[in-house]
């Protein structure tokens, strides 16, 4: 593309941007691009977050599976624990019978041997009684713990099902984000065709347009305030701008006026 043609195109864009000629909405085009950029950034962010959700869900599922395995492991020992406890109770009961018979033997036997035997038997029976109580308590606690473990396993299974659903949703989210990105790419190509702009140019146009409007407003206000000297003081600063604009305007005039839109 030649330099005069480029300048013409710029001029056209600037005219449209500043609303000097027909208000064809180059600013709107630029804002459209800005909106597209924001949507693209948001989609990229959503993609990153989606990937994090997928990764976190995978880790969570691993931990849930491990917890469930542990809980089931505890539950699988239920019978073994019950049998062990039964053995303890059985042994204590046998010991109680031994103590009882020793006591009866002691009661049959004449003093002092019988007396000693009876005392030992009483001691044994006392320990057996305490041991039986403790075994009973232990059995109760084990039963409660196993119930808790069973409840825990059920809850973990429910959490596992929820995690599975979450993983499916996260995967679906990823697909949606990818579809959104594809849509944005399609939108970009259509915007290029419709506006004749690329994202970078659109950004500058929006910037220049905003500054031009601001400059025009400020100069109008300055003129209205009657501060002529202050306005004159700005001339060295605005002269290069005027020079650039003059060049663009004269090229525009030479090319025959309105110029073709991009």
């Amino acid at each position: 593309m030649s330099a005069p043609r480029t300048r013409r195109r710029w001029l056209e864009l600037l005219r449209r941007t500043a609303g000097i000629s027909e208000p064809t909405g180059a600013m709107d085009d630029a804002h459209l691009w800005e909106a597209r950029e924001r949507a693209a950034k948001a989609t990229q962010e959503a993609e990153k977050l989606g990937e994090r959700v997928v990764a976190t869900t995978a880790r969570q599922r691993t931990n849930i599976e491990a917890a469930l395995e542990r809980a089931n492991n505890v539950l699988s020992r239920r019978d073994a624990l019950s049998n062990r406890l039964k053995h303890v109770e059985d042994a204590l009961e046998r010991l109680g019978v031994v103590g009882l018979n020793a006591g009866l033997e002691g009661a049959r036997t004449t003093e002092p041997l019988g007396r000693g035997l009876t005392l030992v038997a009483e001691e044994v029976r006392g320990h057996v009684s305490r041991g039986s109580d403790a075994a009973g308590d232990l059995g109760g606690h084990i039963h409660e713990l196993l119930e808790v473990a069973g409840d825990l396993a059920q809850r973990i299974e429910r959490v596992q099902r929820d995690a599975q659903e979450l993983a499916t949703d996260a995967t679906q989210l990823k697909v949606c984000v990818q579809a959104s990105q594809a849509g944005l790419q399609d939108l970009e190509s259509r915007l290029r065709k419709a506006t004749g702009l690329d994202p970078e140019t659109a950004k500058y146009i929006a910037l220049v347009g905003d500054h031009a409007k601001g400059l025009l407003g400020a100069l109008s206000a300055l003129e209205a305030s009657g501060s002529r000297q202050a306005a004159v003081a700005l001339v060295p600063l605005l002269a290069p701008v005027m020079k650039v604009l003059s060049g663009i305007i004269s090229e525009e005039a030479e090319s025959g006026g309105s110029g073709s839109s991009a």
């Binding site: 059985d90 009961e93 046998r94 109680g96 019978v97 009882l100 018979n101 006591g103 009866l104 033997e105 002691g106 009661a107 049959r108 036997t109 003093e111 019988g114 007396r115 009876t118 038997a121 009483e122 029976r125």
Partner: protein, 159 residues
């Protein structure tokens, strides 16, 4: 002085041994008693009648049985064995099992008159195993009569 065990008196045991209704304990002689643990005790506990009297086969012999702690035995119904106190009626050559009887104390106790000892600062009756057997036989007879089929005369009388 007499050696033996003081046992907690439940309603069943009071009834079986013919004890006073207020008796909280009774005494069994050491010569008459021995503790045993019976496997599959619940098999014959399940056959106990109204007086909770049943029969157990131990070492090939049929024993009379009194369940002194039915609630405990029944509550722990998955038990395959139960401890009991065997009482020997020497003159009869029979034995009696007190299932779940709670032995409170074993030792040598002072006599407190005829057929009684002093334990826990109380006069405690010495249980008569022979008397208990008589009671069991009576109860068993009543039970059998209640359960037998009516005779032809009785059937005619009621029709």
């Amino acid at each position: 002085m007499i050696g033996g065990a003081v046992v907690e008196a439940t309603d069943v045991l009071r009834s079986a041994f013919g004890l006073d209704a207020s008796a909280r304990r009774f005494f069994v002689r050491a010569d008459d008693a021995r503790a045993l643990r019976y496997p599959t005790a619940l098999r014959w506990l399940g056959r106990l009648g109204p007086l909770r009297i049943g029969a157990a086969v131990v070492d090939g012999r049929i024993l009379a049985c009194l369940d002194a702690a039915p609630s405990r035995s029944i509550a722990r119904s998955n038990e395959t064995s139960v401890a009991g106190l065997v009482l020997y009626a020497h003159e009869r050559g029979d034995s009696l099992v007190l299932v779940g009887a709670n032995v409170l104390q074993i030792g040598v106790f002072d006599h407190a008159g005829e057929g009684a000892v002093r334990a826990f600062d109380e006069v405690v009756t010495v249980a008569s195993v022979t008397r208990c057997f008589d009671e069991i036989e009576r109860a068993t007879f009543e039970l059998g009569r209640a359960n037998r089929a009516p005779t032809s005369d009785e059937r005619r009388a009621t029709s």
